[in-house]
Subunit: 465 residues, 2 copies
């Protein structure tokens, strides 16, 4: 691991637990002077002679004035999270004490840590690669089981190992090309070009699923947007309330009740779905409602799944027309929800089975939001349309930076393959190989560190991590 960043040989301190008053709070300090600083504030014991991973109770005091009775956990050198001497100070949780302890550490020579600086140290000291460091932030941000499982898998090095293998394959490949390059003047082709192309195709086939997993990864990380759309009074708000099992949206018989888009999330099978109730789509002169309709249209374009809510008593052609008007992209999934099943009797309803058959190319379901009929079936349909069939056992990438680097890698790989097919010379090919290697290395941080890039990555962390 290359440690070229300046200014990280000092000792840093920060509150690591959530800000605010609690029963206890944890202040964390790491760096070469950790023991010297804390020993000057902890008269009762010589900490540096204690074993690593031990806990010590005593009074923290500065110049004879007691600060707090604390519990210190000692982590020495390489065995700590950061890879440097670290002490975690568990104090009483008042904001006042937290500040006093941090201030005392600063007076004794520590510096207040910047966001993500503890994890950055772990990275710079080779305790984590860059994808693992990024996983730490993802774990803290995770709000569903799947998102957290993916981040945890990434932290444990699942993705990092895969990248390591990829990198080794590329390095081997580069060596073969170099070999050809060295002897090119002798006009001897050491390596079978056909074999090389097969090699590159294999590598492309490893990169491509990772790129494709981003769609799912991103959905799992940020939640899957589901827009509820339809004509005024189709029962969209009632459906939202039924799905959320609470009175989230105001419901009335007056068409155009909902103006603002109302959003709320629920978890299904450990994945977060963000349901968005929109204003009814109709031509209106009411200015506020017009804004609402415009917003609804915007939300439709952003949704991954669209629930088109129609009255089950509507003529089927109307439903089809509404569907066409949505003008969804091929990426977007639509479920046609024939609502108000409660309001019709068998005799006066048109044949629902037939309607569903007509709409069979689309997913279609008849429900009653009001009497909560077939809501479970609707939810199952939503989950199936979310297409999260990939197991979280596979590596799923969730980070836009990873997605971009992998895409760049794939572009370079394709260029290599084309160059090989066109029988271009080895020195031209080696430029593309270097590019591909650079993008793979940028993922794990296995290159000379660019301060700006690292600043951007760790700046997204919370303070104290």
């Amino acid at each position: 691991m290359i440690n070229k960043l300046s200014g990280w040989d000092d000792t840093i301190v920060a509150l690591s637990t959530a800000s605010g008053a609690g029963a206890i709070a944890v202040v964390r300090i790491t760096g070469s002077n950790t023991f010297q600083i804390i020993e000057s504030l902890f008269p009762s014991k010589k900490l540096s002679t204690q074993a690593t991973h031990t806990v010590h109770v005593g009074m923290l005091a500065e110049n004879g004035i007691n600060i707090d009775e604390v519990v210190l956990a000692i982590f020495k050198g390489k065995k700590s999270y950061t890879g440097e001497d670290t002490i975690e100070i568990s104090c009483h949780g008042s904001m006042y004490i937290q500040q006093q302890i941090i201030a005392a550490c600063v007076r004794k020579g520590a510096r207040v840590a910047k966001a993500g600086e503890f994890t950055q140290r772990a990275f710079l000291n080779g305790k984590l690669d860059l994808t693992q460091a990024e996983a730490v932030a993802d774990i803290i941000a995770a709000n569903s089981q799947k998102a957290q499982q993916i981040a945890l898998n990434q932290l444990r090095g699942g993705f990092a190992n895969q990248l390591k293998t990829l990198r080794e394959e590329l390095v081997t490949f580069a060596a073969l090309i170099e070999l050809e390059l060295d002897f090119s003047e002798e006009d001897v082709e050491f390596v079978d070009r056909k074999k090389l192309i097969e090699n590159i195709v294999d590598i492309e086939n490893e990169v491509r699923p990772l790129i494709e997993s981003f769609k799912i990864g991103n959905a799992i990380k940020n939640g899957i947007p589901v827009a509820i759309v339809g004509k005024p009074n189709a029962g969209k708000s009632t459906l939202l309330n039924t799905i959320l099992n609470e009175d989230r949206a105001i419901v009335s018989n007056i068409a155009g009740t909902t103006r603002d888009t109302i959003e709320d999330t629920i978890q299904i099978d450990g994945v977060q779905y963000c349901f968005i109730d929109t204003a009814g789509l109709r031509t209106t002169t009411n200015e506020i409602e017009l804004v609402g309709v415009a917003k609804a249209k915007q939300k439709i374009t952003e949704a991954q799944i669209v629930l088109l809510v129609c009255d089950v008593a509507e003529p089927i052609d109307d439903v089809i027309l509404q569907y066409k008007n949505l003008a969804l992209t091929t990426e977007q999934k639509c479920i046609i929800v024939l609502n108000k099943l409660d309001a019709i009797s068998k005799c006066d309803a048109y044949d629902i089975e037939e309607a569903i058959a007509t709409l069979s190319k689309q997913k279609c379901i008849a429900i009653s939001a009001k009497s909560k009929t077939h809501i479970d079936k609707l939810m199952a349909l939503i989950v199936s349309q979310a297409e999260l069939s990939l197991s979280t056992e596979n590596t799923i990438i969730t980070n836009a930076r990873h997605y971009n680097e992998l895409q760049q890698t794939l572009i370079s790989l394709t260029e290599i393959r084309t160059a090989l097919s066109n029988n271009l010379s080895g020195d031209l090919i080696s430029v593309d190989i270097k590019k591909a290697l650079m993008h793979i290395s940028a993922l794990t941080g296995n290159i000379e560190h660019d301060k700006d890039i690292l600043g951007t990555i760790f700046g997204k962390f919370c303070i104290g991590k």
Copy 2:
């Protein structure tokens, strides 16, 4: 220590750090099944065979599904905060993970802890007496150096030791009276009544300073209220802004600018002062201003220190009249602040020295809030008027419950003394002794625990402590 409360032999779990997302969070679990529960969630190590006060890193998982990579700190039996097996789980700080860990512990048999239940266990297991347990809550609530020093001293047993001595003296005294009682039929007075009275006076002299310290203790704990009052346009809001060193109150030349009372706190010498800017005191027909004037009058009665702000150019008799109109109690301190020193020249001003001499029975000072003249002297005067001369080395009580119990103790002591003086019989006196003992014991919790009282005390704690 008597452990008569039912339902505290189970294992309890709670988030101990502030709620919200942070870099890390600490979930605490204590009770007889602590090791069994956490071992069922921590496959990598047998924790119960590890030494106390050690730290262990590993994966927390339930039924094969990983929850988080955590750091566990082990505290065994009597050596823990609660006096029972305790494990502190440092996890990544997302709300989601915090909930998952607590839920997993509950599924394995723990119960979610009630507010203050960890400290209650410490009390019930004899790790802390009741005054020390209460000090824990005070430390967490402390927002100034003095408040925190007092609470810390109380936690370390300063007050508890003093109460122990008091209690022993009373018990000895009771024994002497009992002795007299036993032999009363024989009409032999074993103990010299004069000596007994001297004994009681000694005890009273120990209790009285504790009671008196409450005034200061309460001021230190809750801050000292300082009301800024005076005629409209005397410069009250300018003075508040100058004291706080920020533009807190809106200042204008228009009389009656301030209507709401504006409050803000600053710390001087580790003590918190709460400055309250009030509406100018004048007869007005403006309804909003009238409400403001009424509020100002209310704030005056609540203040411990009143700053009466006058224009230095005002006739001295007017100033005296304003002071009289304040109708302060003897408990309240007043400082007459002759403001706008900047606006007068030596020649056109009446003699300030003379004014101050005239007002000499009151604390008086000439300043300019606008040009910040003599503000430091005013602040020193405020501190001297706060009468916080008692050193925090002495025991200072800050808790209304302690104040009440000590007052009741003193009443009983006085009754004992009166009874002794009136030569009442020993059995009558022993009733009062029992009362005094009961109140002292209630302070430390050294009696049969009343569930309601304990519930009230620990219910004021935050969850997880």
